[in-house]
């Protein structure tokens, strides 16, 4: 369930970003002192994509989901949410998933308007 730091390092290397694993499952980022806003944005993009892939492999497992990092957070935060709300969230996530599968622009617009208050 919990990925190893080395997996994250591998995923980030695939994004052409070099990091180093250390200690108790820690990924060390190695920004140069002269890093600028542009590089930061690029790095965050790499990390976000790497996380999304790891999340898909470890959390969505087998479901063939296309969860993004944020999608996974919402999924996992469900434990603290009252049951009725949880039901609604699960329904809306099913709708989102179906929309993604059909890839409709309409669905994307609806999703944007709906929100799910997590």
């Amino acid at each position: 369930m919990i990925p190893q730091a080395s997996e994250m390092v591998d995923e980030l290397r695939a994004e052409k970003m070099i990091t180093v694993a250390a200690g108790d499952n820690v990924v060390r980022l190695l920004p140069p002192l002269i890093i600028g806003e542009k590089e930061i944005t690029e790095a965050i993009g790499c990390i976000d994509r790497a996380c999304a892939r790891l999340a898909k492999a470890h959390v969505a497992g087998g479901e063939g989901g296309v969860m993004t990092a944020n999608g996974v957070r919402h999924f996992l935060d469900l434990t603290d949410i009252p049951k009725p709300v949880l039901g609604g969230l699960i329904d809306s996530s099913r709708v989102m998933k179906a929309e993604r599968a059909s890839g409709s622009a309409q669905g994307a617009a609806r999703r944007k308007n709906a929100g799910h208050g997590v």
Partner: protein
């Protein structure tokens, strides 16, 4: 030695003990920041027992924590400090600094090294310091470090993204919990 356990350190001090060596922020250990209270307690212990306090700032030195040296963040000054990495800006270099008092034990000629004081490496170190110590460099870097931290916080997302460690400049993401 358990990290941050001052009692364990006290118990370990014996008649053969000459110094206490520590990274103010552990690198390979997982970017764990030593609490300033712990470093102050170590300083006190060293002064009591006549030991040298040695900081390994190989990974933290030369602005990598937002200050020129990590020890500045703790308010504790070591007797001896090891530097490398950032000092060369990518070029291999290492340096050992000591206070006048501590360096009394290491006079010229007592410590040799085949490639020590290599002129090219020294020139590179000088050039790096020119850049890092230039007006506004640290401020600019701190600003971007803060931006990086904020952007990292925005992708708090995955459950395996634990808390972030490190000082200003050395974000490390815990892939755990």
């Amino acid at each position: 030695m358990p990290f941050g356990d001052i009692d364990a350190v006290k118990r370990a001090i014996g008649p053969q003990t000459a110094a206490i060596l520590i990274e103010p922020i552990q690198g390979e250990g997982g970017v764990r920041v030593a609490p300033p209270t712990f470093l102050r307690a170590l300083r006190q212990l060293c002064d009591q027992h006549g030991l040298l306090l040695v900081f390994d700032e190989v990974q933290t030195g030369i602005a990598r924590t937002g200050e020129m040296f990590a020890y500045e963040r703790s308010g504790v000054t070591p007797d001896v400090m090891a530097l490398a990495k950032a000092l060369g800006g990518g070029f291999p270099i290492g340096a050992c600094l000591a206070t006048t008092e501590a360096s009394k034990g290491m006079t010229v000629g007592t410590h040799g090294s085949t490639f020590g004081g290599n002129p090219l490496a020294m020139a590179v170190g000088n050039a790096v310091l020119d850049v890092v110590m230039a007006d506004g460099f640290l401020e600019h870097m701190r600003k971007n470090a803060l931006l990086l931290k904020q952007r990292l916080a925005e992708i708090e997302g995955p459950p395996f993204f634990g808390h972030r460690r490190g000082a200003r400049r050395r974000p490390a993401d815990r892939v755990c919990e």
